[in-house]
């Protein structure tokens, strides 16, 4: 029960910030995909840069556990390409589609129905996929620092430097 309420509060805070930065709009999402407007990339990278520092500090202190997804090249690459095609057609992400409804962009409703349909179809295909794409290039639950064999803070600092340089370039180009 406590988790349910925490989920709602966290979602409200996140939805509020997403709307304030105007990143849930179709025009912003397509703007990024068409390399015309990098607002959503700025938002996402800023969130990642802050949270990777905080989560790894808490992890180093033994206060939290990481949630590492399995790296399976077949499923990650094929799934990623399909997601990209669908995202370009829809113009909303799974999470932001709900935010879009919240600010009155009702075309997201069709997208939400489509995503529920797509999830149902996936459940039907799952047994067949398990014997194919899920067996191609399975590396298990690895992280970038593990794969490179270096301390995670090196990766974090390099990532943040890369992010800041990218932001500076975006601002110079007026993206």
């Amino acid at each position: 029960m406590k988790l349910i309420i925490l989920g709602l509060i966290t979602g409200i805070l996140f939805g509020f910030l997403l709307q304030k930065a105007r990143v849930i709009r179709y025009d912003k999402q397509l703007g990024a995909l068409r390399l015309m407007d990098m607002t959503i990339v700025k938002f996402m990278l800023s969130a990642v840069m802050v949270s990777m520092v905080g989560v790894y500090i808490l992890h180093d202190l033994g206060l939290v556990e990481l949630s590492i997804k399995t790296t399976i090249l077949g499923a990650n690459i094929v799934g990623g390409i399909l997601f990209g095609i669908g995202w370009g057609m829809l113009g909303y992400c799974p999470g932001t589609s709900l935010g879009a409804i919240g600010e009155g962009r009702l075309d997201a409703l069709w997208g939400i129905l489509g995503m529920i349909f797509g999830a149902g179809v996936f459940a039907e295909f799952y047994p067949a996929l398990k014997n194919t794409v899920y067996t191609w290039g399975d590396f298990g639950k690895i992280t970038l620092p593990q794969a490179l064999g270096i301390n995670h803070w090196i990766v974090i600092v390099l990532f943040i430097i890369f992010g800041i340089l990218l932001f500076r370039w975006f601002e110079k180009k007026g993206l």
């Binding site: 979602g11 996140f14 179709y26 996402m44 669908g86 995503m115």
Partner: protein, 130 residues
């Protein structure tokens, strides 16, 4: 008072990062959304074919129930509505501006594109486990 000026994406993104750190710390939960669509699909299918849903391996792994993420996704709608309403930026529209300028006011065409785009995107997202 209405102020429709957008917040800096760096500020709002950074604050979102802080919210996600607190979420991991307090609730042990990482942000995500697409699993919830599987749960909702399972809930809807359970109304018509409960035996089948109980047997499908994927719905056994991702059970049709309300959990932290389900409420998180619902909260995004509520939070966005609060921000939009209080800033006067809530705008009811069925066709996005960019679509309108390219393809005209074609809500049915937009609806089909959004539905099938959503279906393909979600199939891919579940496959990549994103």
């Amino acid at each position: 008072m209405h102020s429709d000026k957008a917040w800096s994406p760096y500020l709002a993104g950074g604050l979102s990062g802080l919210v996600s750190i607190l979420s991991v710390w307090i609730a042990g939960q990482y942000f995500g959304a697409s699993t919830t669509f599987v749960r909702i699909a399972g809930m809807i299918e359970s109304v018509f074919t409960p035996e089948r849903v109980a047997q499908l391996e994927y719905f056994v792994r991702v059970a049709p129930r309300v959990d932290w993420q389900w409420m998180f996704v619902t909260g995004i709608l509520v939070g966005s509505f609060i921000a939009a309403w209080t800033s006067g930026t809530f705008k009811k529209q069925w066709v996005p501006d960019m679509w309108n300028s390219k393809f005209g006011h074609t809500p049915v065409k937009r609806g089909f594109m959004a539905f099938f785009g959503g279906a393909i995107a979600m199939f891919g997202a579940r496959m990549a486990d994103g």
